[in-house]
């Protein structure tokens, strides 16, 4: 047992946590943008899945990782625009349209890789370049910290940079404030002359980009190919991370780190002959418990302020 605890304190473990949390951080940030713009994010699972597929296939055709990432981002934006067209122009119910996006992606990705790679399971047979890792010059020289923080995938660093940029955007720039006002009170935003449709689509573009990057990380960083259903609920865990971080990018970062810890813990616990299926439930159980605690505290706070 002591060995186990010690193995968690190694720089190696921290490195794994950061690697595992990256897609969830992307998903969480994307959900945050969706929710700030007043759009339900349930379709994120499908957006990420489609982006992961396009990333892998795009990288195979262009034979460059950059091309793959571009394809992933473009497909992320395209599918979220289709979602936007369905909900904004055709006025479908958002949750249903999101479920439709998930259904569509689950099938369409298999459909496409069947034609590109010739099999329905994965694109392992295609040689697609992956996004490289980055060794940070000075940081990598520092003994323990260097091992933890240097040498990650480039997309991981991009995730953290985007987190800071988004925090700045939503709190300090007119664009961020307008997106928030459209999300919080459409009528009020419209009354001061904000073009609702324009900002809804900007929201969709930003959220689609983030989800697309998350998908690209899955198929071009986490592993080097696309396999069916590879997002495996990470988009929805992103929704949970958003709820736990209450729409604050740094809160979301901490929440996704929690999932990263739970997820990599479950991998390590399997070494101890614990049933792997039960260990796999840990991240999901933790999500439900923390969300309930947070919501309960919020509810109590509201009740107290109402009675005062």
């Amino acid at each position: 047992m002591l060995d186990f605890i010690l193995s968690l304190l190694t720089p190696d473990y921290v490195f794994t946590v950061i690697r595992v949390m990256t897609p969830i951080l992307f998903a969480g940030l994307s959900c945050m943008v969706f929710i700030k713009g007043g759009i339900d994010p349930i379709g994120i699972e499908g957006i990420m899945l489609l982006a992961a597929m396009s990333g892998s296939v795009g990288s195979y055709y262009t034979q460059s990782a950059f091309g793959g990432v571009c394809c992933a981002v473009l497909s992320g934006i395209t599918i979220s625009f289709i979602f936007g067209y369905a909900t904004l122009q055709l006025q479908s119910v958002e949750i249903l349209a999101g479920i439709a996006v998930n259904t569509l992606s689950a099938g369409l990705t298999i459909f496409i890789i069947y034609y590109v790679a010739g099999e329905k399971g994965s694109t392992q047979s295609l040689a697609s370049p992956v996004v490289g890792s980055l060794t940070i010059p000075v940081l990598s020289g520092i003994p323990i910290l260097g091992k933890m923080l240097s040498g990650h995938n480039m997309l991981t660093y991009i995730a953290f940079i985007l987190m800071i940029l988004l925090a700045y955007m939503f709190n300090r720039t007119p664009l961020g404030l307008r997106i928030r006002s459209v999300g919080e009170n459409k009528a009020a935003a419209e009354s001061v002359g904000i073009n609702i449709m324009k900002y809804k689509y900007i929201t969709l573009a930003i959220a689609g980009t983030l989800a697309g990057l998350g998908g690209a990380f899955m198929s071009m960083g986490y592993v080097s190919f696309f396999s069916k259903n590879m997002i495996a609920g990470r988009g929805w865990i992103g929704m949970a991370a958003e709820a736990m971080g209450r729409g604050n990018p740094f809160g979301i970062c901490i929440a996704s780190m929690l999932f990263g810890i739970a997820d990599s813990l479950s991998v390590r616990l399997q070494l101890f002959n614990l049933p792997s299926q039960l260990v796999n439930t840990i991240p999901y159980v933790i999500t439900i418990i923390t969300i309930s605690i947070y919501s309960y505290r919020d509810m109590m706070k509201k009740k107290r302020s109402n009675t005062k």
Partner: protein, 355 residues
């Protein structure tokens, strides 16, 4: 005698939209087939008429429809109170797993095992709603997480304790003799599960239309504020509704397991829960239309499978149809102007009639 005339009224607009959605989605898919298939004629033929080619295939359409009836009904009840509880997917899976485990471990009679599974399904679907009531947590997120927990726990029960070492795949031991649902027709695998499904249709129709419970839940879904003022015990009612919805999904899981298989054979979530959403939408949230909607989806499934066997189009193409239908049926803007026109025309006519 009054002359019979065919007219579209504004209350028909939803059926019209459903029809339009199905037509558009099929057109999109036909176009895709025409563009990418090397033998589009054969592909289209086997997709549209393939399921009617043999008794066995007609049987498969009905077999495919049975679990969809259960999850469709489950979704109707789960969403009736206005909550988006998506735990039916997990409930379907874990109910099948617990029922299989109980029958393998204790050799209980089949009804007991099915009842256990049904109750498990009910409890699973009640959890997100209880958390909503007690903690105000987001039902959508908790139910999605719960699906994964159900999957892994169900897998743990079977893989951890009842795995048959004699076969190569991760299936359980064979269910004991006499613990399968009796088959109804030779050649096909249609079984008494179909009768249970149809009975459930009647029961759900009765609950929704003829009981005060069903009325109250509908009212909560349509106008929660009004329901609160009317003094309804909203919390208890929505938990009860999701419990019943979960029981239906759970029963569906057990019926599928003991009707179609001789061992526990699921290795992934079945997706029947998600498909139930499409069935419920196509049935316009009305229990009496669920069998028809389930048959439609079942027919397309079998058609897609036949097509994937006989041509170069993979069966996953069906998900495009499903997605387009979900979006367009719920698209309020579709046919909006037509509806307005109809309303104006009808009011003018009724005014003219009154004069």
């Amino acid at each position: 005698m009054k002359k019979f005339e065919f007219r579209i009224r504004c209350r028909d607009i939803e059926s019209l939209r459903t029809g339009l959605a199905i037509t558009i989605s099929l057109l999109i898919v036909f176009t895709i087939i025409l563009v990418i298939s090397k033998a589009p004629g054969a592909a289209l033929y086997s997709f549209t008429l393939g399921p009617l080619k043999s008794v066995r295939r007609i049987g498969s359409v009905i077999e495919e429809a049975v679990p969809l009836i259960f999850t469709g009904l489950s979704v109707i009840l789960l969403q009736r109170s206005g909550l988006f509880n998506l735990a039916m997917e997990g409930a379907f899976f874990i109910a099948a797993a617990t029922a299989a485990a109980i029958i393998l471990a204790f050799h209980v009679p089949l009804p007991v095992a099915m009842l256990t599974g049904t109750l498990t399904g009910g409890i699973v679907c009640a959890i997100p709603t209880v958390l909503k009531v007690k903690c105000n947590s987001n039902v959508l997120v908790t139910s999605l997480m719960l699906n994964y927990i159900c999957f892994y726990v169900g897998l743990y029960i079977i893989v951890g304790h009842f795995l048959d070492p004699k076969i190569n795949t991760a299936f359980s031991y064979k269910f004991p003799e006499g613990s399968l649902l009796p088959r109804l027709f030779p050649v096909t695998r249609i079984n008494t599960g179909l009768l249970i499904a149809l009975a459930c249709v009647v029961i759900v129709w009765f609950i929704n239309n003829r009981t005060s419970f069903g009325f109250k839940v509908t009212m909560i879904g349509k106008n929660p504020v009004m329901a609160r003022y009317a003094g309804m015990k909203i919390d208890k009612l929505i938990v009860a509704a999701s419990f019943i919805g979960g029981m239906l999904a759970g029963l569906g899981g057990t019926v599928d397991m003991f009707g179609m298989y001789t061992r526990f054979q699921y290795t992934a979530l079945t997706n029947y829960g998600w498909d139930g959403i499409l069935v419920a939408i196509l049935a316009k949230q009305k229990a009496q239309y669920v069998p028809l909607a389930a048959l439609f989806l079942g027919y397309m499934r079998v058609g897609a499978n036949v097509m994937s066997m006989q041509s170069d189009i993979p069966s996953e193409m069906i998900s495009i149809i499903q997605a387009v239908i979900i979006i367009l049926v719920s698209a309020q803007a579709l046919l909006k102007n037509y509806r307005k026109k109809l309303i104006i025309k009808e009011t003018q006519e009724s005014e003219a009639g009154a004069c």
